[in-house]
Amino acid sequence: MDQSPPARLPDRGPRNQPPPSPVPDRGPLGQPPGSPGPSTDFLVPIVDSENAQFWEGTAIGELRMQSCSNCDRLRFPPRPMCPYCHSTRRSWKVMSGHATIWSFIVAHAPLPPAYAQMSPYNVIIVSLDEDPVLRMVSSLLDHPGGAVNEVNPATIQIGEPVKAVFCEQAGIWFPRFVRA
C-alpha cells in the first residue's frame, strides 16, 4: 500500500534535479483544453486563455494577479467576471511578491511516486501583502532554486514574512517563496 521509502529527516541535501520524466507531449502552455494529457510524473498546471498571463509572468520573474479594469479590485483564482462590479474587462497587475504564511502542511506518503520521492515536503498558503484575501498555494524554499523538502518543517511559522521566487520544474516556472 505504502510505496514510499521510509521517512527521511528534513535536513538532507538539496534535491533540485529536473524530474526524471520527459516534458509532456502537449506543451503545458497553450495546450488544447479538454484533451486527455499523457501520463506525467508531476501534475502540471493547465494553462488556458483565462490564466495564460499568470504563467507568462512567472516565466519572466513576475507574480501577477488578475485585476478588474472597471473597479480595480484584484481577484484570484482568475475568472471572467468581477464578483464586485460584474465587469468582464480584466487585466493583470504585477505584485510585489511580498507575502506572509497563512498556513502550511507537511505531506508524507502515500503520494504519487514522484511526490513520494520528495516527501516529506512542505506546502504553504501565503497571503499577499497587496490584499491578505489573495491567497496562493505554494512551497517554502530555503533559497531561490532550492527544493521543496529542504526547510526543516519544525521551523515554519504561520505569519512569517516571505518573498516570491521563480523556479523551473518540468518546463514550467513555478512561483515559490523564500523567507523575506
Partner: protein, 385 residues
C-alpha cells in the same frame, strides 16, 4: 415566520446497507441494486412503486441501471447532487422535496462504492485538473487530506485547538464502532497512545485522523408523511433540510474566500435551523461527516453546538461519546471506524437512532442531526421521530 412546507412532510421509512469491508466481490451495480431492494423491503414497499431516485453525481450506478435491476415503474423525478461527500444528505432532501410536492410518491437514494478495492482517486497524475485544483495540486497539495490539513493547521493556530481534540473525535468514533458488530473496526480498539504514535499522513493530520477506505453500499427510501404511517417501520421524519454553498467558496480547496474557517456548514446551518422548530440545544444525537477528524470540529461550530473557535473544548471529557457526553456523535463508528461510503452510513445510523435500534442507542432520542461533508458545498438533514 411561516413554517417551511417541507417540515415533517416526508420521512425515511426504509434503510439498508451491505456488508462493509476493505474488499467485497460483487460489482458496485450489484451492491447498489441489492441495498435498494432491501431498503424497500424494510419499508414494506414493492420496488415497482419506485418513481423517484436521487444520488451523487459521482455515483457510478445511474438511475437507468438501478431502475432496470429492481424493476422500478415509471420514474417521474430523478436528480443528482454534486460535490462528493457534501451531497449525501441532499439526496435525501431532494427525495423529500419530490414526494412532498407530489412530483413522485416513492423515492430512493443510494450510494455504492468500491473505494477499498479501487484505486485512490488522487493517485492519477494525468488528465485535466478541475479549475481550482490547477492552483493547488501542481504545488503538491494533492490529496483531500492535504487540503483539509491546511485548514486544520490554520484552525489550530487561530483558536488554540490541539491534536488532543482531534484524537477525541477519532477515539469517540472507534468507541462506537467497537459497540457495532457491523463496523469495520468493531474488533480493534484505539487508545490515545496509538493515536499519537501513528504515522503522519499530512501534518498536522496522522493516520487516525483519516476515514477508512471501504467497499460498501447504502440505500434509503423516502415517502410522504401520509404514506409513512402505513410503512413497516417507525418513520424518521425529515424535519428540516438544507444545502449550503457560501459566497466565494470552492470545493475542498476552500482557501480563497474571506473566511475559510467559516465553511459551508455555516450557510447550510442558517437555513436548516430557520426551517426547523428546534435548535441545536434540542438535538439528542448527531451524525457528523467525518472523512477527517477536523471536519467534525468545523461542523460542530457551523451547526451551532458551541461558539466559534470552541469546538476543541467541546470534545473534551468524552463529550462526543455514548453514555457519557452531551452530544454523542457517529454512533455507528462513522466514516472513521464503521465505513467510508461518503456519509450515507451516517444517514442510516440517524434513522436507527430515531427507531431506537442503534448499537449505541441514545436513550429516548427524538431528534438526530445528520450532516454531509464540510469543506465542500454541503447539506444536512434534521431527523425527528
Amino acid at each position: 415566520m411561516p413554517k417551511s412546507p417541507l417540515q415533517d412532510a416526508a420521512a425515511i421509512v426504509g434503510i439498508a446497507q451491505s456488508e462493509f469491508a476493505k474488499h467485497l466481490e460483487p460489482s458496485e451495480q450489484e451492491l447498489a441494486a441489492k441495498v435498494v431492494v432491501e431498503a424497500l423491503f424494510d419499508a414494506g414497499i414493492d420496488p415497482s412503486e419506485v418513481d423517484a431516485m436521487c444520488s451523487l453525481s459521482m455515483e457510478s450506478t445511474e438511475e437507468v441501471a438501478i431502475a432496470s435491476n429492481i424493476g422500478a415503474g415509471d420514474l417521474t423525478f430523478f436528480s443528482q447532487v454534486g460535490y462528493g461527500g457534501g451531497g449525501g444528505c441532499a439526496t435525501v432532501g431532494h427525495c423529500a422535496m419530490a414526494v412532498a410536492t407530489g412530483q413522485a410518491t416513492v423515492a430512493v437514494a443510494w450510494r455504492a462504492r468500491k473505494r477499498g478495492s479501487g484505486p485512490r482517486p488522487w493517485a492519477k497524475t494525468s488528465g485535466e485538473l478541475a479549475i481550482p485544483g490547477r492552483w493547488t495540486r501542481p504545488f503538491g497539495l494533492i490529496r483531500p487530506v492535504d487540503e483539509i490539513a491546511m485548514l486544520t493547521r490554520r484552525y489550530m493556530h487561530t483558536y488554540g485547538a490541539t491534536r488532543e481534540h482531534l484524537a477525541n473525535v477519532a477515539i469517540a468514533a472507534r468507541f462506537h464502532a467497537n459497540r457495532n458488530p457491523k463496523a469495520t473496526m468493531h474488533d480493534r480498539t484505539l487508545t490515545r497512545d496509538e493515536y499519537f504514535s501513528s504515522r503522519w499522513i499530512s501534518e498536522p493530520l496522522c493516520l487516525f485522523d483519516n476515514c477508512l477506505e471501504s467497499d460498501g453500499a447504502v440505500a434509503v427510501v423516502v415517502v410522504s408523511a401520509d404514506r409513512a404511517k402505513d410503512c413497516r417501520n417507525k418513520p424518521a421524519y425529515v424535519h428540516s433540510f438544507a444545502q449550503g454553498l457560501p459566497r466565494q467558496s470552492q470545493s475542498m480547496v476552500n482557501f480563497f474566500c474571506d473566511d475559510p474557517l467559516k465553511g459551508p456548514a455555516w450557510a447550510c446551518a442558517r437555513k436548516l435551523w430557520a426551517n426547523a422548530e428546534i435548535g441545536p440545544q434540542d438535538v439528542d444525537v448527531a451524525q457528523i461527516y467525518d472523512a477527517f477528524t477536523p471536519l467534525v470540529l468545523l461542523s460542530l461550530e457551523g451547526y451551532g453546538f458551541c461558539p466559534r473557535g470552541e469546538a476543541g473544548g467541546f470534545t473534551e471529557d468524552r463529550n462526543l461519546e455514548w453514555g457519557v457526553g452531551r452530544l454523542p456523535i457517529n454512533t455507528s463508528g462513522g466514516s472513521l471506524s464503521e465505513a467510508y461510503v461518503h456519509g450515507f452510513n451516517l444517514i442510516t445510523e440517524g434513522v436507527r437512532q430515531i427507531r431506537s435500534t442503534s448499537t449505541s442507542q441514545v436513550e429516548g432520542a427524538k431528534t438526530c442531526l445528520v450532516t454531509s461533508g464540510e469543506g465542500v458545498p454541503t447539506s444536512a438533514i434534521l431527523l425527528r421521530g
